[in-house]
Structure formats: C-alpha cells, structure tokens
C-alpha cells in the first residue's frame, strides 16, 4: 500500500523541474524564495493532508476554503477584538473545526448523503456566514496590536542548523509553518500507514461493504476522517490568518479545497478512495507550489497560473495511468509466457474428500 514507486517518481519530477527552473533563474534557490515557498508549502500542506484523509475514504471535502475563511475570521475577531487570549481562542477554533467535520461525517454516514453534496453546501454556508460575521468587511488586527508568542509560533522563522550547532553553522531560516507541516505529516504518516485506524481507512476506501463484513465500524471510520479533516483545516486556518493578518471573507481561502484535491491527486490519490500516501500528498503540494513559483520566476504571465497547474496535473495523472496499464499488460504477457509454474490451483489434490 505504500505507493513507493509513485512517490519516487513525483520526487524525481520535483527535482527535475526545480533544477531546470534554478538553471534558468537562479533566484529560485535564493534563500528568500526558498523560505517563502516553504511557508506556502507548509500552509497548503496542512489542509492538503486534511483533505487526504477524506479522499482516502472515497469522499471529498469541498468546504475547506470556506472553512478557512470562517474560522480565520472567528479567530482574528476573538483575539483582536474580543480580547480572548489566543491560548484559548486557538483550541476553540480547533473545536469548531472538529464539530463541523463531525457534522459532515454524520450527515454522510447516518443520513446517507453524498459527500459532494454535504460539503458543497458547507462551502456555500460557511462562506456566507463568514461574510455575514464581518458584514463583508475585512477582519484584521487593529494598528499596533501584537501577539508576540503567537506570531513567533505561526509566522516566525528558525534556522534549524544554526539552532542545533549553537550558531556555529548557518543555513536558511525556514518558516515555522513548514516545520509544523512536516511534524503533522510525520504524525499523520504514522496514523495512516502504521495504525489500525489507518488500515481501516484504506479498507473502507477500497470496499466499504467488505470492510463492514470484516467487522469494521465503517461509519465511525468515515466520521473520524471528516473530523480529522475539520481539525487540521482549522489549524491551517489559524496559520493562514496569522500569515495574511487581514482576512477578506469573500475571497480568503477561495479555491483552497481544489488546491488540496489537486495536491492529493498529483500525489497519487484516487478519488475513488483507498489509494494514496502522506508522502504523496506532501510532494504533490510541493510540486504545485513550485509550479506557481515557476510561473513568476520564468516570466510567464501570471494569468496563466492555473492553466500551468492544470496542465501538469492532467499530464501527470494521464502518464501515471498509462504507465500502470502498460505494466499490467507486461505482467500479463510474462505470466502467460511462464504460465506453467503458476496456476496454483492445479496442484494435485493431496487430500481427497473424505471417506
């Protein structure tokens, strides 16, 4: 179930694209550009991992972008205007994410609604509520208000190498969002690829009926996937709010669900469920960000931004599919040629029925 081949292929693609871009425009590997890209990879990676948990069950979460807007608005309002300490506001926002995810999961499993419909309605509702909440005004921090700890955690940068060597050696200062995303990816890798629950997620995504007949409480597994998605999305909402510092509820987070889905698909996830890996979705996020970056750096008109990402995803998925079909055919031919040794059922019947 480890999509090692796909992940490796994607990794190689990233290296190749990165090298080409760096050769054409050396700014690509400047420390500023690397840190900025890493920040975006971190922010987008968080909710892409969130989305991955839903996609693995064969579902989809379309309300990610709206949720980011709504939760971001609420978070900023809580700490900037209502004076709630951020240490309290953050868990509260995560709890709202939990509840929204739970709601989606319950509607999908207990009321048998389609994930697309439930989360599409979520997309519309949360966006509307976010705009109503601020009366369509931008939510932001009053001038001079600062939250130093929070800002350090969310938007600070640390040079890990310098920290470890006590300043003896230096590398690039990377944003904390990137580190947190890597930490989350590591935890979620354990959950998806090593835990019992992770195996259940794959089982439910592959064949919910067979999973149920194996004694798995499939409803709970699906609900848990949406809850995880909600909580991680809420976390990314806090980070994004602190990154942008001002939130226009009508456009903040627009299309982010589609970024997340694109990253997952690029990373080898199947929208039918049951396929994909954490490494894949992280690599998918990285590639998408590099593509955006490349549009800027190579002087491609930025209006073509989406077109470039779309084309790369399309070609990538198509190539992957064709390659898989090719390998399947080759394997079939091989097994035909060496057919004699296989056919495991034709072993002489040692144990004749019973007498």
């Amino acid at each position: 179930m480890l999509n090692l081949k796909k992940d490796t292929g994607l990794f190689v693609l990233i290296i190749v694209v990165g090298t080409v871009v760096a050769l054409i425009n050396p700014l690509f590997v400047s420390s500023i550009n690397i840190a900025n890209t890493a920040n975006l990879v971190g922010l987008f990676g968080m909710f892409a991992i969130a989305q991955a948990f839903v996609i693995i069950t064969g579902g989809i979460e379309l309300s990610v972008g709206s949720m980011i807007a709504l939760l971001g608005v609420i978070f900023v309002d809580l700490i900037a205007n209502l004076g709630v300490p951020w240490q309290l506001a953050a868990p509260l926002v995560l709890a709202i994410g939990f509840v929204l995810g739970l709601g989606h999961g319950l509607l999908i499993t207990k009321k048998h609604m389609q994930p697309f419909v439930v989360t599409l309605c979520g997309l519309l509702i949360y966006r509307g509520v976010a705009r109503f909440y601020t009366e369509d005004a931008t939510a932001g921090f009053p001038f001079g208000v600062r939250f130093e700890d929070l800002e350090f955690i969310t938007t600070g940068r640390t040079d890990l190498l310098a920290l470890l060597t006590g300043g003896a050696m230096k590398s690039i200062s990377l944003p904390h969002s990137f580190f947190l995303m890597l930490l989350l990816a590591a935890i979620m890798w354990m959950v998806l690829h090593r835990s019992v629950f992770g195996r259940y997620l794959y089982a439910v995504g592959k064949n919910e009926e067979a999973a149920r007949f194996s004694g798995i409480r499939t409803d709970r597994v699906v609900i848990a996937a949406y809850v995880i998605c909600g909580v991680l999305t809420a976390l990314s909402a806090i980070f994004l709010a602190m990154y942008t510092r001002s939130i226009l509820p009508s456009s903040h987070g627009n299309f982010y669900e589609l970024y997340a889905i694109a990253a997952a698909v690029l990373g080898g996830f199947s929208l039918r469920g049951g396929e994909g890996s954490i490494v894949g979705v992280v690599l998918g996020t990285i590639l998408l960000q590099i593509l955006q970056n490349l549009v800027n750096l190579l002087g491609i008109p930025s209006s073509l931004n989406f077109a470039v990402s779309g084309s790369v995803i399309l070609i990538g998925v198509l190539a992957d599919q064709e390659y898989a079909a090719f390998r399947k055919r080759r394997a079939l031919v091989r097994s035909r040629l060496g057919g004699q040794e296989r056919a495991p059922d034709k072993v002489p019947q040692a144990a004749e029925p019973t007498s």
């Binding site: 179930m1 354990m190 090593r194 835990s195 019992v196 992770g198 195996r199 259940y200 794959y202 089982a203 592959k206 064949n207 009926e209 067979a210 999973a211 149920r212 007949f213 194996s214 004694g215 798995i216 409480r217 049951g274 495991p344 059922d345 072993v347 019947q349 144990a351 004749e352 029925p353 019973t354 007498s355």
Partner: protein, 512 residues
Amino acid sequence: MASAFLKLTGIGKSYPGVLALNDYSMEVGPGEVIGLVGENGAGKSTLMKILGGVISPDRGTIEIDGVQRASLTVFDSMSAGIAFVHQELNLFDNLDVAANIFIGREPRKYGLLQLVDSEKMHAMVQPYLHRLGANFSASSAVAGLSLAQQQMVEIAKALSLNSRLVILDEPTSSLPLSEANKLLQVIAGLKAQGISFIFVSHRLDEVVQACDRVIVLRDGRLVGQLAGEAIRHDAMVKLMVGRDLKVVYVGPRDRPGDVVLSVHDLRTASYPFQRVNVEFRRGEILGLAGLVGAGRTELARAIFGVDRIEGGALKLDGKPVRFNTAADAVKAGVFLVPEDRKAMGLLLDFSISENITLPNLGAYAPMMAVSPEAERKQAEKSRAELGIRAPNVSARAGSLSGGNQQKVVLAKWLAMNPRFIIFDEPTRGIDVGAKSEIYRLMRGLADKGVAVLMISSDMEEVIGVSDRVAVMRLGWISRVLERAQCSEANILELAMGAEETIEREFTGEMQC
C-alpha cells in the same frame, strides 16, 4: 402441433470436470409453452446460454427453420426470434415504458438532428401493450410499475423484436401469487397468438398451470418429459431427484453439544411477517436449504448484524444479545462467510495477510502500530493450516483462484475465536478439488466445537455435508430434517412446497 421451427439434436457441453449438458435434444413449435425444471446445476442455464448464443455447444446441431448449424451467435439467436426475460430484469427504471422497449433503436426525427421521435415511439409501443392486456401505458415510468408489470415490459420488448420464442427464467420467483397469475394469463394469451415460451421455474404449481409439456433435466441430461395431464407436482419431483451424490458424508466426531446461538421469532425486512426460529448447536453443521429468494441470505445477514432486524431476538449461550453492526457480531465470535466473496468477503486489492488480520487488527498492533511481522506470522500460519495456494502471503487476494480466495475469507475468522460461523453458498464458483477442502475445513471447525450454518442451493452439498437440514421457504423455516430424513425428495418437497401448504402460506402472506 404445427411443425417445429427450432430443433436441438444431440447437444453436449462440458466444462472442466463437469458435463453440463449431455446429448440433449428438443423441438419447439409455435404456440407451445414448455416447462424446464431441474435442480440447481442440472443444466438449465447452460441450455439457455446455448439458445441465447452466449456459449457454443461442443457437440450437436441447432436447426432453425430447416437451417442447421453447430452453434448460434447472439445475433443469430435474436434474428431467429428468440428472446429472454431474465429473473433480474434489465430495465432502466429512470425511463418510461416506450423508451425501454426501443432502447438503442429509437425512431428519430428532424433529419440531421436525430432527435428521438417520442410520439412515434409511444404509438409503436401501444399495440404491443394492448396485445399483452397491460394495464399501464407506453408513457408510464418503469420505476412506478410492479415487478410483474416490468416483466410485461420485457415481454413487450420481445414482441417488438418479432420474437416467436420467449424464454422466461424464473419469472415468478419474486412475484406474489396474484401477480404471478397475471403473468401466467399473459403467457396463455400470447400462446394463442402463436408465440412459444420456455418457462424455467422452481415453482412447480405454476409449471403445472402454465405448461403444455415439461422437460426435466438432471445432471445435464434429459431424464423425462411430461405432457398434458401427466404434468403433476409429484411426478416432476420424482424425476428431478436421484442424481449422483458425489460428496460423501462425514459425520461429526462427537455428538452435537449445547446450543450456541438461538434465533427467536426473528423477522427480516424481506419477509417482515414471517418469524424464524432455529437453534445452532456446537459441533454440528446445519444445512439451510431452500430456493433462491427464500430468505436464507437475509436471515444470515440479520443474524450477523449487517441488516436491521424487524423483530425477534437472538440468544448467545442462552443470554439475549443484540448485534447492531457486524462489528458486534464479530466481537461475540459470530462470523459470516458471505455469498459474494469478491464484493463482501474480501478486499481484493489487499494482500492475503492484510485480509486475514483485518477483523482483529488490534491484536497485531502492539504499541499502536500494526506490526507487519506479526501479520505475516499469522498469515503464514493460516496459509499452512488451510492450504492456501499462493506465491506468498503478500500476494493480492484478487490474484487468487476462487477456492483460495474463499480460504482467505475463512482464514480471517479462523484466526480469531469462532463460536458460530455462517457459510453462505461457500463453494459457489469453486472447482471440485477446492470444494472438498472447504468441506473438510467446515467439518474440522465443527469438530472443534463451533456451530456451523451452511446455506447452500446445491443439493449434493446440502445432503453431503449437513448433519441436519433446515428447509426455508417464503421466509420461514418450514422444517428441520434429521440426518436420516435428509433425502433429496424430502428437501425438494419442503423447498418447493406441496400444493396445500402453498395455499396456506399464501393466504397467510396476503393478510399482510
């Protein structure tokens, strides 16, 4: 009788290890209704597939209107005027009647635009419906029709294709009595117009009512023909039984023990007004016989907790239990090997070992993480115990043969602590060698003190494996036969029902 337009002579068809049809001959003339009866596996489906042009016979000739050929293609069959109405109807319930009848050959209009000419289509369909005496119109939505009416749509479609022989495969098995009668009237009406029917059915009373003559198949051979007055319930059963029973019965090692699980007044959604009562004893294989649609699988699903039960109770070791989900049943050691192993029994894309450990994965995950080593160990153990033939335990379950897949399903449950296992059609689509291994495993389980329920439509298997046989019909268990009474004739009689019992039950059902 007018001269026959279809003649089969000396038709034979064999599959590896099975002679599906042997030296079979028949003639069909216009305006005949021919009954085709026989147990499961008697060769009825093979015959139908040959007539439909889906498979080619190995031997014999098929003569249509004087032209001889060795086999038919689907196109030959259609142009010869042979049409099928299958038990599972092939209708689009989102379309209306006319659209279903003309699907794929809709009349068009407006030249290049090629729009469907609905008015013309409806006008073309109406006469066929009239001929059938249908009480619905060409523009009725198929979704709103009863099953019998939907069958009439299929028959109308056959008429629109100028069919002269309509083969009805178990047409009445899912119909209530009143609807079945309506269908039989339609058949009689069309017969008077020269259309012939082959009527495949397990409901012998309807065969008596509808058919001019009856062909009885057993083990791929024609064992008898009855005509006119000679078509009687008992005469048909007499011909159907008596097949070679190749499975040799092996009795339990010990006498059956205590009751493990008992079912009290259980009502399922498919037969909500029938109460099922049955007990499963440790060390015993109880066979559950009955016709397809008798409610056996539904009973199994209800016990296993995947379907909601409408009423009644289960007792495990005498204590009431309730399984709201399969997970509850699994926790209690109540397992199901489902009928459709590819859709429900296995995750085809998972490896053998992942399938085996799935129901009890927590046991292989010390410290929260699943240990591939522990999984592999269990899988290797199961592979040796059950004789699963595979290159290694990380092979995809989907790559295995049917018999080995079934062993993997079984291995899932054997790796846990089974107390009661239901096998639903455990050897369907499995070759002979693997079959006997499955039987041996079932017996081994029973001898270890597990209570086993085996649902099977294969009479040979029911008689050859079961210690006792419960017969289910129309949603309830009409009787449990002791080993000594387990004859083919007894089981068939109970499964199909003698006339008086049918009357009684139907009036019972009508009240609902």
